[in-house]
Amino acid sequence: MASGKSGTALELRGSTGAVRRPNARRGNLARLIGEIKRKRHGYTLLAPYFILFFTFTAFPVLMAFALSFTSFNVLEPPKWVGWENYANLFVKDEVFLTAVKNTLLFAAVTGPISYVACFFLAWLINELSPGIRSVVTLLFYAPSISGNVYLIWQVAFSGDSFGYVNAFLMKWGFAMEPIQWLQDPKYMLAIIMVVQLWLSLGTAFLAFIAGLQGLDATLVEAGAIDGIRNRWQELWFITLPSLRPMLMFGAVMQITASFAVADVATNLVGFPSPQYAGHTIVTHLNDFGAIRFEMGYASSVAAVLFAMMLGTNLVVQKLLRKVGE
């Protein structure tokens, strides 16, 4: 890239044009090789990480795309089937379409709500004194690092009269008999969303807290002179624009997580869930990958998931670049 660019630059300047160009290119190449040699220790340092990174994160994406065009059951070598897997996904597989619908609902509800909540709560916490602030930060962040604690929601929403929510509703006369919260497709999705939101104050939340703490106080003072009257104006004209890099990072974290809902759904409403009301793209992927061993088909599910996550992320990054402009 670099050598090519300066090559054209030379050509444009080009008094000696065609004769000089190959030499210049060779010179650039030699310089590049020289630089790589000089910095070989740097490459040695990053090699172990990147060998593993390419083996387990980057190349697997390409592998998944390649496999998605095959029929592959692990025992026999993969067989090329062209677009058949994708055709089946979108035309024949009604369960997949349910999974897509549920996943999009999750992403559309928990994604934006959790993102706004992460920022808004971090913004409120930032007003507290440092000691209280770290306690409240711990409380809000704790669910996302507490592993299986969210299973307690299962006890709360238990379908008999010993479940807390049912007991409460029955005691106060809102319900005559226990509601099957986790078995009734009417409620399942909403409950999973609530639990997912409870779990969602994670990395992005910490990034916002850090960003707000590092905010330059003189900006606020300068803003007051420029006519900023209340905290909402301060938020819109000073805080949000200064925090744009964090907002972009946080968006990546929240979007990726909001498309990947699976374990919470499986553990709360079971697999397969009644009428597939808690079925998501990732549970569909697990179903075909880890249970049925239809690796080709599962890979096409993974490819669709990848496209959705990456696409949404890139679009949102574009939009967030406009904050405060």
């Binding site: 083996t55 697997p60 692990v74 770290s134 604690v149 104050l201 990395t203 703490q213 990958g289 690796m295």
Partner: protein, 295 residues
């Protein structure tokens, strides 16, 4: 003279704030806090409930006669399993410690040249890392399963450890943090004749302590709860190699009666990552302040 106290009063009051809105927002924050805290209170309460109290109607939100029966039951449940509880604990501790230590070291090693040495191709590598933050690891589960099988690592600790060594968030945070180290410091060490490796180990690593403490908590929380999902179950299928999280997950299949021991198990499991976060919170916040994505 007269205006002095007034001036001092105004300076004490924070800019752009009014008491009414302060109060309203405080209420919002309290409500959110309650929503976050209630499940924890409820879990501690459930963990301490004797069995007969589980079946009271209306149920008691706060335990009336707390006991440690559920913790004792937990050991009874595992007394009958042919893999002892201690083995599950060992598996989790081994995987979590080795995976976390490896990740912190490898990610720091890779972050240093990316942040400070301006390698040809370095920006391209970092862009790929950022792009990889934009999809969840589930996308690569199937290829990883095949790779692990091909490497002969299926059904071993390494099947859980290897993919976790090179997670992209760690490298991203570490590289962003290292960028604020002044170049002069590295130049000075070079003039003194220190090699790149020596600079990395003796100068960079001590400075970026907050960042590697952050990588510790992020990597550890993932590995500590590993092995319970669909993916963990297919990467490691021998019972004696399963993790604590998997073993505890089985308890709940016993139904509502088991919710006491389940709560006890969840309480034990959360103590470790939460304690690590309490100890490292200040460093984590310091690290996250450099976490922004620049355009």
């Amino acid at each position: 003279m007269l205006s002095m106290p007034g001036l001092r009063l105004r300076r004490k009051k924070k800019l752009n704030r009014s008491i009414a809105v302060d109060l309203a927002l405080f209420l919002v924050l309290s409500a959110a806090g309650a929503f976050m805290a209630v499940p924890f209170v409820f879990m501690v309460s459930t963990a301490l409930k004797p069995l007969d109290e589980m079946f009271l109607f209306p149920p008691t939100f706060i335990v009336r006669s707390p006991t440690l029966d559920n913790f004792y039951d937990l050991t009874l449940i595992f007394a009958n399993s042919w893999v002892p509880l201690s083995r599950y604990i060992f598996n989790t501790v081994f995987v979590a410690f080795l995976g976390t230590a490896g990740h912190v070291i490898l990610a720091s090693m890779a972050a240093y040249p990316l942040a400070k040495l301006k390698l040809p191709g370095g920006n391209l590598l970092f862009t790929i890392v950022i792009l990889s933050l934009m999809f969840a690891p589930q996308v690569t589960a199937i290829p990883n399963y095949l790779t692990i099988t091909w490497l002969g690592l299926l059904d071993s600790y390494w099947a859980l450890i290897f993919p976790a060594l090179a997670t992209s968030l760690g490298l991203f945070l570490m590289k962003q943090f290292m960028e604020q180290i002044p170049d002069a410091l590295i130049e000075a060490a070079k003039i003194d004749g220190a090699s790149e490796y020596r600079i990395f180990w003796k100068i960079i690593m001590p400075i970026v302590r907050p960042a590697w403490l952050t990588l510790v908590i992020f990597s550890f929380k993932g590995l500590w709860g590993t092995g319970s999902g669909e993916q963990g179950a297919s990467f490691v299928y021998s019972e004696q190699l399963k993790t604590m999280d998997y073993a505890f997950g089985q308890i709940l299949s016993g139904g509502f009666v088991r919710s006491g021991p389940m709560a006890a198990a969840a309480l034990i499991m959360m103590l470790v990552p939460v304690s690590i976060f309490i100890l490292t919170q200040r460093s984590v916040i310091q690290t996250m302040s450099t976490s922004g994505l620049k355009d």
